[in-house]
Symmetry: C2
Subunit: 391 residues, 2 copies
């Protein structure tokens, strides 16, 4: 069998490595696990008849999220997109503003900017964390903006750059402290998109609690799920109160009158979904331990495969390892589609990263920084089966 | 006890009449009832692990809604506000347009217009159905607009009046056919807000299926609930397809690629909520029968109380009697707050109608027609306990 001249089949090597950890397919990319009090809380919710916009599970879920993340306040909302939308509004983003976003992100981040009639301004990421590159961003802003009247002005468009929304990609915490320094120096608000990073910390502090506000998602593919759901985190109690108000139709409290004092949103998380969330949150420490163990097993399985490696949490930062991520060497980038085909054909669900936001038709004319790293990452990233139930 | 000179206490008479039908409080205004397959379907949903944005209950709920209403297509969404927002966008409402709305409506209708950067233009209602008054609207449009290039132009603002959104108040069907004629004659799109009127029909045809699109709500206080939820109804399959696309982030179907072709919305109804909806919809005929029986009992109880009457479905139209509604005679309008206080103090939850939209600060400068009837109705309407479980 010593056929040294057989060409390497990286795709099949990767199929075998994944199978050696998680067994044969079919396996989803990320499945939720319901082995705690989900059933009990759902039943309790149904029996109470309070399944909708008010109820004790909403209050409890908000309290539990604040306790887990260390945020002073958490506001449960209908999904992560809604959380981003409201956070941007409360950060003062208005029509005609620009908002700095990673080009490498899920569509929700860019859509939320569009809902504010603002324009995304795409920037590059760093290879290590896959997140917004603070160093490149500082260079970009230094050479293309100036401060006028306390606002950061994009010299080519004349627009105010009001906010930035770094996103902790696949749960890996980015260099939030360096980005906060850039935000401070250039008078830009910072909203943290922590949709994927529940359980991820930087220097022991939970992602999503560094910026003015942070956002979480509990979609079905996330580390914990409420069916659909999200949350806003903030340490500013006044902002938290505002967020609760405008996500609940901006109704003024009264025994019976229906008066609303501004254009608000119906972004409430139903109590039914919050009930599921309370049960899921109880199990989060276990899920996180399992996901870390899965990462370690994958790391062993891939140790000897040349040309591909797993993305690892940066030193001093703790990843929730939401989605396990393979990174092909640049010289193997042309194998990406073969790997995707072979793994999916074998019933092991994998996927590439999202199309870069600047390539989408509706954002193709949006301003952007040079994007060499994300253009490289786009060709090389592959997510592999990551459910906590796989170990 | 023949104290003929004792002043009448209308509030106490109303408390007694309500109690004679529904017993002593505490009673909510409207509570959901879960006595069917809610439990079974929720468990099945949880066991499948498909609790989120895809799953068989979403598909089934959409099919069941289409079958029940007779609409060619139903698209389940996260709530009624989202349904309105997307319907307006698909009707072509854009920034700077005006949209005709009843001043007497829930805030969602007006907020949805604001989300499109359009301006509500408030019009009057008729006493009989509490809905948009087609006759008054025709007079108003005839004297204040003109047709230019196929568009209805408001002569005082110069803006295009792009759409109208009549709302079937408390489930009572309005005169949709007369409004369709006005919409046709003035080149205005018609979106039906049927959030409150699931089960209500006009000439045997379900409300929400007459206009270009119709919207439903399954909030916790509605005839059936999904926790939070809504739907878009349409007989235009092409529009239905568009609605599904932009309520599900406008993602293009692909085995693994994430490409979106326009700014879309995360307005999907989670499968968990759809599971509840499927079970609720099975029981809808029973709920409707119970609500009608409750109406008849209230009608008897109030028959001999001078100065107040129940709102009755107009001839030829069938109401779901979602919220039972008292209408005080104009000469007793000054008793409204005493009635609200006495009933709520007795644990019988009642409430007045919403503050008229044109009185809210954010809409106070919006264009409006003369509003004599809704100003009168606002002083005289009271909703009383209406749960289907009360009979």
């Amino acid at each position: 069998m010593n056929r040294m001249d057989t060409p390497r089949n990286l795709a099949q090597e990767i199929v075998r490595a994944i199978s050696s950890v998680v067994g044969a397919g079919p396996l989803a990319l990320h499945e939720p696990r319901f082995r705690g009090n989900e059933w009990i809380y759902l039943k309790e919710c149904l029996d109470s008849t309070f399944v909708s916009s008010v109820g004790k599970f909403v209050d409890r879920f908000e309290d539990d999220l604040a306790a887990f993340t260390g945020a002073k306040r958490a506001i449960a909302v209908v999904n992560g997109t809604a959380a981003l939308h409201v956070s941007l509004l409360l950060a003062g983003v208005t029509a005609g503003d620009e908002v700095l976003l990673p080009a490498l992100t899920f569509i929700a981040t860019a859509n939320a900017v569009a809902y504010c009639q603002a324009t995304p301004h795409f920037v590059d990421s760093e290879e290590r964390s896959l997140g917004m590159d603070a160093h490149a961003l500082r260079d970009h802003l230094s050479s293309t903006t100036e401060l006028r009247g306390g606002h950061c002005i994009n010299l080519s468009t004349g627009r105010v750059i009001r906010a930035m929304v770094p996103m902790h990609t696949f749960g890996h915490p980015l260099d939030i402290e360096a980005l906060l320094a850039v935000a401070h120096d250039f008078h830009i608000q910072l909203i943290e998109d922590a949709a994927e990073s529940l359980g991820s910390t930087v220097g022991g502090r939970h992602t999503g609690t560094f910026g003015l506000m942070g956002t979480l998602s509990f979609n079905g593919n996330k580390t914990i799920t409420t069916g659909g759901g999200g949350a806003i985190l903030t340490n500013d109690l006044e902002l938290g109160k505002r967020a609760k108000h405008i996500t609940t139709t901006a109704k003024l409290p009264h025994r019976w009158n229906f008066v609303h004092d501004e254009v608000g949103y119906n972004y409430r998380l139903p109590n039914l979904n919050a009930a599921l969330g309370c049960a899921q949150l109880e199990q989060l420490p276990g899920f996180l331990a399992d996901k870390r163990r899965l990462f370690e097993r994958y790391q062993s399985a891939f140790a000897d495969i040349e040309g591909v490696r797993l993305v690892v949490e940066p030193v001093g930062r703790h990843s929730n390892y939401w989605l396990q991520t393979l990174l092909l060497d640049e010289s193997f980038a042309d194998q990406r589609d073969a790997v995707l085909t072979a793994t999916n054909d074998a019933g092991l669900m994998t996927r590439p990263v999202w199309a870069l936001m600047n390539r989408l038709s509706m954002f193709s004319s949006a301003p952007k920084a040079p994007l060499p790293m994300v253009e490289s990452l786009e060709r090389r990233l592959i997510n592999i089966p990551s459910s906590s139930g796989l170990v």
